[in-house]
């Protein structure tokens, strides 16, 4: 299953915190294993060289202006395979919280008086809203093991196993005490698993950083959260932390 040649891989960052590339850089001894299966031609975190000759492009960050859109389209043209990594690139991430807020205020807060000089879009977009994306590595930040699994799968020519069921599955496999039994509130029931429910394992809740599953029962969960005692506004806030772009996309369908 091992191909004769290593595919060439390059990393690109857009509006994001580069936390995902940091996860990759932090693979430590495993990064050498990674280099056994792909050839890195561009990766700002660890090297200064850059090349436009690559097979696989990893995209981090969300797309927030037309400049970035052009750049991403060019990358899509150059690459055989485009992989979005991290919540910003897969679902708009934290950047899209502002999608649900008043745009003027956001601009003012972010850029102060200088806001006239920036032509940022009103809404932050994930990579797939701009170009075709072949694979996604979800999470904020991404999980190193899952990143490796996706790279391995690409190199082997197989499909990666990315779950399309809720975090609750993993949470129960890990025998956690459910947040709702601790009088806390959790969006795990609509969030895509794959992180091994890591946050709940640590005693907290799921915030939804991997985005919603393809067919979430959001109506039910909104109602349930209210039944458990959240106000409608608090429920909105829970859903807006990571799901803003996805919710709008679902409504547009």
């Amino acid at each position: 299953m091992k191909p004769e040649e290593r595919p060439k891989a390059a990393f690109f960052d857009f509006a994001g915190c580069e936390g995902d590339q940091l996860q990759v850089a932090n693979l430590e001894e495993k990064i050498l294993d990674l280099l056994n299966i792909v050839e890195l031609v561009s990766f700002r975190e660890v090297m200064t060289e850059h090349s436009d000759d690559y097979d696989v492009a990893f995209i981090e960050g969300s797309i927030t202006d037309s400049h970035a859109e052009e750049r991403l389209k060019e990358i899509r043209n150059n690459a055989d395979i485009v992989v979005a990594i991290g919540a910003c690139a897969t679902i708009g991430g934290i950047n899209s919280i502002r999608n649900a807020q008043d745009f003027e205020k956001v601009q003012e807060r972010v850029y102060g008086d200088e806001r006239e000089h920036y032509e940022a879009w009103e809404k932050a977009k994930p990579a797939k809203a701009v170009v075709d994306v072949d694979y996604e590595v979800h999470g904020c930040p991404i999980d190193r093991e899952e990143f490796l699994h996706v790279v391995q799968s690409i190199v082997m020519g197989r499909e990666p196993n990315i779950p399309d069921y809720p975090v609750c599955v993993e949470c129960k496999l890990n025998e956690n005490v459910c947040a709702f039994e601790r009088d806390e509130f959790c969006v795990g029931p609509v969030t895509r698993a794959g992180c091994d429910s890591c946050c709940v394992n640590e005693g907290t809740i799921c915030w939804g950083c991997r985005g919603m599953i393809d067919n979430p029962n959001e109506e039910a969960h909104e109602e349930v959260l209210e039944e458990y005692g959240l106000t409608a506004e608090e429920v909105m806030k829970k859903f807006d932390l990571y799901f803003t772009w996805q919710k709008e996309a679902r409504e547009d369908e």
């Binding site: 299953m1 391995q152 069921y165 609750c168 025998e175 039994e181």
Partner: protein, 346 residues
């Protein structure tokens, strides 16, 4: 029947742990709940508990386990794998013992599944009669509040002592230790155990309004009542919690995971659940149970009818785990079954 003082039981458990022949696991507390987990010492053992988050099934069919290891450097080489850890499992309630009896049948059915059977054979099961009863449990209605067999040893709390019923020679052998302080039970003690067992039957808040023997035909009759299933499934997340926590669910998925060399790896099975959306989906997008309501109905049919047809058991032992852990609170079998029963004459 034997009788052992509580402190002597503690010593016995500590000795089993120190002995290291088999891993000793038992019920421990986890925050406000209970789980089966490895015991470091006897003090951790909680024999007065209501229900554990997951059933002890995980020791015979782990959440994730390797079935086959492969290597593809030259041609392919594959090898069957079974990681067996011999265990003593302490504190199993009767409903879970009943569930294990049912699982034994499933995995012993041809072709035999040695990954389960070998782990099962190498384990010693020490049951305990319930003192606390989960508010969600309806084991009393399912005939699983107490049990006659299925354990190697069975404990009943008698205040400062435990009554010990010996179920098998495996159980008897475990007790064959010089240091163990134990005596035969007095007739009054035997009677006390009988009384305790009788009283347990009356301790359940939840119950089925009818004999579970009616479930197979009741479910068959209502299979086609689509409105009923749709109404009840409306809030279902398809989160599979009700499958995963159930002691009689055994469905699994199988996937390959290669290591970074890409030339070796493991074929693993992981618990799966029929409530998950993709459970019956095939390549090309056809999904044979596409609607939430179809999957929701399927679980109840499995519990009350299908497995009965195949193995002769009602595959719900009334532990109440599904009902207590379903966040939207729609997975309670007594709720659904009683509704069907009371609607049956309309």
């Amino acid at each position: 029947m034997k009788v052992i003082k509580k402190e002597d039981l503690e010593n016995f458990v500590d000795e089993l742990i120190a002995n290291n022949e088999k891993e000793v696991v038992g019920v421990k507390s986890k925050d406000s709940k209970y789980v089966f987990d490895k015991l470091e010492n006897a003090e951790e053992l909680e024999l007065d508990y209501d229900v554990t988050i997951l059933p002890p099934k995980k020791y015979f069919m782990p959440q994730r386990e390797t079935l086959v290891e492969y290597e593809t450097r030259e041609g392919i080489e594959m090898e069957a794998v079974n990681e067996v850890v011999p265990r003593i499992i302490i504190g199993i309630h009767p409903y879970d013992l009943e569930a294990i009896k049912q699982m034994d049948k499933v995995f012993a059915d041809s072709p035999e599944d040695d990954n389960y059977l070998e782990k099962r054979e190498k384990s010693v099961l020490i049951g305990v009669n319930m003192k606390q009863i989960s508010e969600w449990s309806f084991a009393g209605s399912m005939g699983t509040a107490t049990i006659e067999d299925g354990y190697d040893l069975m404990l009943t709390d008698l205040g400062d002592r435990y009554a010990v019923e010996i179920g098998t020679s495996k159980g008897r052998e475990l007790l064959e230790r010089e240091s163990l302080e134990m005596r035969d039970a007095e007739p009054e003690e035997v009677e006390e155990v009988e009384n305790i067992e009788e009283n347990i039957q009356n301790g359940f808040e939840k119950e089925l309004d009818f004999s579970p023997q009616n479930l197979p035909w009741l479910l068959a009759e209502n299979y086609g009542d689509e409105d009923f299933w749709e109404e009840n499934a409306e809030d279902c997340y398809s989160c599979g919690t009700c499958n995963i926590v159930c002691p009689t669910c055994y469905c699994f998925d199988v996937q390959d995971f290669s290591d970074i060399s890409l030339e070796e790896g493991e074929r693993m099975r992981q618990w799966d659940g029929c409530m998950l959306e993709a459970f019956a989906e095939v390549a090309g997008g056809e999904n044979f149970r596409e609607e939430r309501a179809e999957r929701y109905r399927h679980r109840y049919m499995r519990k009350g009818r299908y497995l009965y047809n195949r193995f002769g058991d009602i595959a719900c032992v009334g532990c109440g785990r599904c009902s207590s852990q379903c966040v939207p609170d729609i997975a309670d079998p007594t709720d659904i079954f009683n509704k069907l029963w009371s609607d049956k004459d309309e």
